[in-house]
Symmetry: C2
Subunit: 409 residues, 2 copies
């Protein structure tokens, strides 16, 4: 997981979503939690027809929202069957009332679906420090219609400052069975996961053994959702969960199953695609920045350097302005703590080499053009070894400042 | 050093500068290194009439500029007599040529002043990755006139994107002698020192023992220059140095000297004032943000929480927009790794309490007004112990993005 990910071409499902895998249904309504209404959705529900083997990961911020605390309890036994989410208010730092509200959301979803409350994962995202409007949430959950094509509504309902919903499904065939992985994610600011992004929910109809599912999710997240940054702030509500209901049939996939590698690859590709969607839609962002670090002394060095470069405000502003100010890449890599042999280090903006132990002559206009598109590649060889890693981020724009200068008021 | 600094009222010298202490002279010229000219200065020189006991601290970024490498060598014996600085080009990542240029700057200053090159500290600040225009620097150093009132020119010459020079002198009397500490600093972006800010040069005419001087500088920097952040990026050129020439007379001040505490306090106050000047003049900044963290389980926790809050883009943008979005303070404190007891934690915006184990009712307009001035105080009690720390930062504005989107082009 510490080598540069060669991202497999993903067999994407046309108009796929979190409800594409067999036996999953989803839906959402507008309950009046988000401000402004027409066409908006803000309470979402996902359910599986059968209990799922599940794995979940949560924020490592020491301030955790009540839904994170409850979801950690509910996912601890590796079994989930439903997900309930609201957007608009985050239910963080609300004391005992917050915990009670998170539990009630699970109970309401459970009663509606006829499953156990302990099999429901709950998420709330939005402003911190306001009480959840439980009347509206109760009413909303009661009104949600679950449909096999409801994944798009689910993805639309969970977003906050995102400019578009993030949804995807991928299919792979193995051992005579066709399996699907679906995903819905949200997150646009407060994104520097030390776990996952704010939300990334995943479903699959593959039958998967619990320990293998857990390991596959952790590895996939390490190379994807944990390698993106919008603003270096880590949310109190970050949640990723993967529910596998096995309804597509076949023998249970574990580490020794012939489909193990394919499952891991499909999950990893799905997570990387979702991570890139999140970074590209960072608050105010106009560009997706991919940072590839190679020649590192260790995988940890490669990851630290790649993440620090992708999160550096000075790198992000330079890319925004098409300014080939490559010194900032070396500065950020050096700040990361990664070992760098400056005499052997190399730097590229796109495919233009700008540094190789010393500055290289390059055409400013050509180098500037490398930064001009919607997809920008920055590449750095630390000159110390053969470990590599890739991170994703976005440019820093005046719009980011505008969005975040008056979020509550 | 891990308790909240009660900042002593500083006996400031009217129009004081780095050349205010006895026996220091300074000067600067415009040598054509900074773009645009009229009235600008970009090469500066400081000299003491006598050799100085010296202490210095440098960036911990693993990518270090050639001047940092040379200055580390020159200050290793605790003896310096002069400082030569250019602004406009940073002399970082320039290979062997960069090192040779940094050494030549020291040799030129030494020849001009009749001191040893090994007693000269050198600094270069500006764009990374362009060669120093040595012809202009040679010409510039030859033309500099040193004057007792040259400290203001020195301070003006070393700035880059700063909107104003940072200069100060403080006086204290002890054991029948009047001692002065002078300072000049620069730095506006790429500021999140893990050592000092880009440059903070300090002089004093007090006679000080070397080990005591070194310890006093480290402690002062820990509470001041290491507690500010503009954009969380750490420069490759950060340098702080303190030169003590002893020309005001008296017995050598060491840890057991009756003036030891007064010297430490004056140095600490001077460094804190310089740190605040730097944070207030952060790139694009309109406000100085002071973050006081108390009730921490340890000094390290208090420092980490205060620094992380002061550096958080979401806190900085909220302050910019007068948005009383206090949840972001808890989020940032939680991300810092500091222990927080949410049930006992408290948060204030200025003097308005907004959280005490749970959100407190408060008037939005009043809370917003707490963020409206040029000096904003944010206060957080982590509810875990009695350690405290203070950090300083600035708001994040669209102007920061504009400044950094085209720095080289």
């Amino acid at each position: 997981m510490n080598t540069a990910p060669a991202i497999a071409a993903l067999p994407v499902v046309e108009r796929g979503s979190i409800s594409s895998p067999r036996g999953f249904r989803a839906g959402a309504v507008y309950a009046g939690i988000k401000t402004a209404g027409a066409g908006k959705l803000d309470v979402a529900l996902l359910a599986s027809d059968a209990p799922c083997v599940a794995a979940a990961m949560f924020t490592r911020n020491s301030v955790r929202g009540a839904p994170v605390i409850v979801s950690q309890e509910h996912s601890a036994d590796g079994r989930l069957q439903a997900i309930v989410v609201n957007a608009g208010v985050a239910n963080v730092a609300m004391g005992a009332a917050g915990l009670a509200n998170a539990r009630e959301m699970c109970a309401l979803a459970a009663a509606r679906l006829g499953v156990a409350a302990a099999d429901v994962l709950v998420g709330s995202t939005g402003v911190i420090g306001r009480p959840l409007p439980m009347d509206r949430i109760r009413d909303g959950i009661a009104r949600i219609e679950l449909r096999e094509d409801g994944g798009d509504d689910f993805a639309r309902a969970i977003i906050t400052t995102d400019t578009r919903p993030k949804t995807l499904a991928a299919r792979f065939e193995c051992a005579g069975h066709a399996y699907t992985i679906g995903a819905a994610a949200k997150g646009s600011g407060m994104i520097h996961p030390d776990m996952a992004t704010m939300f990334c929910f995943l479903t699959t109809d593959a039958p998967v053994e619990r320990a293998f599912l857990d390991g596959a999710l952790r590895d996939a997240v390490a190379d994807s959702l944990n390698m993106i940054s919008v603003d270096s702030d880590t949310s109190t509500s970050d949640t990723t969960a993967l529910l596998a209901n096995g309804l597509a049939g076949g023998a249970v996939i574990d580490a020794s199953h012939p489909c193990a590698a394919q499952f891991r690859a499909a999950l990893r590709s799905t997570c990387i695609e979702m991570a890139k969607m999140l970074a590209r839609d960072g608050e105010g962002a106009e560009k997706l920045i991919e940072v590839r670090v190679e020649g590192a002394a260790s995988g940890a060095d490669a990851r630290a350097a790649a993440r620090t470069i992708s999160a550096s405000p000075l790198v992000k502003t330079a890319v925004h302005g098409n300014d080939p100010n490559w010194g900032r890449l070396l500065m950020a890599a050096g700040r990361s703590g990664a070992r760098i042999d400056l005499g052997r280090a190399r730097v590229w903006l796109g495919s233009t080499a700008v540094f190789a132990g010393e500055p290289l002559p390059f055409d400013e206009e050509t180098a500037s053009d490398e930064l001009r598109g919607a997809d920008v590649l920055l590449r750095l060889d630390l000159g110390c070894g053969d470990a590599a890693a890739t991170a994703w981020g976005c440019d820093l724009t005046a719009e980011y400042v505008h969005i975040n200068s008056d979020y509550t008021t």
